[in-house]
């Protein structure tokens, strides 16, 4: 988070000088200290993000690949009026335990065109799919498998 805040400061400033860098370090440190004290952040959690970085990057890659793939599938349904589509609302549970992983999965499902997370209550996902083919293996998708591995490493 510290590095993210510092990068944000530099980007918003638009120029890299000694003054902006020093002030950025100071403000990023101040906000990070505040977050550690009041928002349940800690240095240990920050270290974990570095350990998880390869898995998180892999997750991002899978997400981008799924978005591209689903975009073409959804475009096919839109551009081919003769192609029948059978919308479906599907309810399922996943083996994921942490709230962060569940929220991440819900957001990834919604980001992927053709599927929208309607609700997530106590680990129960309610997802709308543009066609029933898009619900195939949704409860055990690559997202779920990767998030499970991330949970194993993080916990």
């Amino acid at each position: 988070m510290f590095f993210f805040l510092f990068a944000l400061w530099i980007v918003f400033n638009g120029r890299v000088t000694a003054e902006t860098v020093l002030l950025g370090l100071l403000f990023a440190a101040a906000i990070f200290t505040f977050a550690c004290r009041f928002l349940d952040y800690s240095l240990a959690k920050e270290k974990k993000i570095f350990i998880l970085a390869p898995l998180l990057l892999r997750y991002l890659g899978v997400l981008i690949a799924e978005i591209v793939k689903s975009t073409f599938t959804a475009c096919r349904f839109i551009l081919s009026p003769s192609l029948p589509h059978d919308p479906l609302i599907c309810k399922f549970r996943t083996p994921l335990k942490s709230e962060a992983a569940l929220a991440c999965l819900a957001n990834s499902i919604t980001l992927t065109p053709g599927t929208i997370t309607i609700s997530l209550d106590d680990g129960l996902f309610t997802v709308h799919c543009l066609d029933k083919s898009m619900a195939e293996g949704i409860a055990d998708s690559r997202f779920v498998q990767l998030l499970q591995r991330i949970e194993e490493v993080a916990l």
Binding site: A7, L8, I10, V11, F12, G14, R15, I67, V68, T71, A74, C75, I78, L79, P81, H85, D86, P87, L88, I89, C90, K91, F92, R93, A106, N107, T110, L111, T112, P113, G114, T115, I116, T117, I118, S119, L124, T126, H128, L130, K132, S133, A135, E136, G137, I138, A139
Partner: protein, 118 residues
């Protein structure tokens, strides 16, 4: 030469993004039900906008403006699913005849496997 390649790549990405947005608009009129229309809108929200922003990043080159656009993409990818989820939840909770519009399958009722094959 580099400038020309950057211009061509940027233009290609922006044109692809525009094509996605046109398909999205067409999909909004093509589908009749709100949740299906949202799926069409999601195409532009998640992929169309990214293609346009990547195209603009090529125009700006290796500069802070490109990094700003990257932050815009990250922000959009974090915030867009939340608003979509809220609209979808509103429809699901207020439509008393949701089952007339769309099939509902519950995978948690002891049946294992693929929802499509039942």
């Amino acid at each position: 030469m580099t400038e020309t390649i950057r211009f061509l790549l940027g233009t290609a990405f922006i044109l692809c993004g525009l094509a996605i947005f046109i398909i999205e608009i067409f999909g909004n009129y093509h589908f009749g039900y709100v949740l299906n229309r949202m799926q069409a809108a999601a195409i532009g929200d998640s992929f169309g906008i990214v293609l346009c922003l990547v195209g603009m990043m090529f125009y700006f080159g290796w500069a802070l403006a490109g990094l700003k656009l990257l932050f815009v993409e990250i922000f959009l990818w974090c915030s867009s699913p939340v608003s979509s989820h809220l609209v979808a939840k509103l429809e699901a909770e207020t439509n008393e005849h949701l089952d007339r519009e769309v099939k509902i399958r519950d995978l948690t009722e002891g049946e294992e496997g693929d929802p499509c094959k039942r």
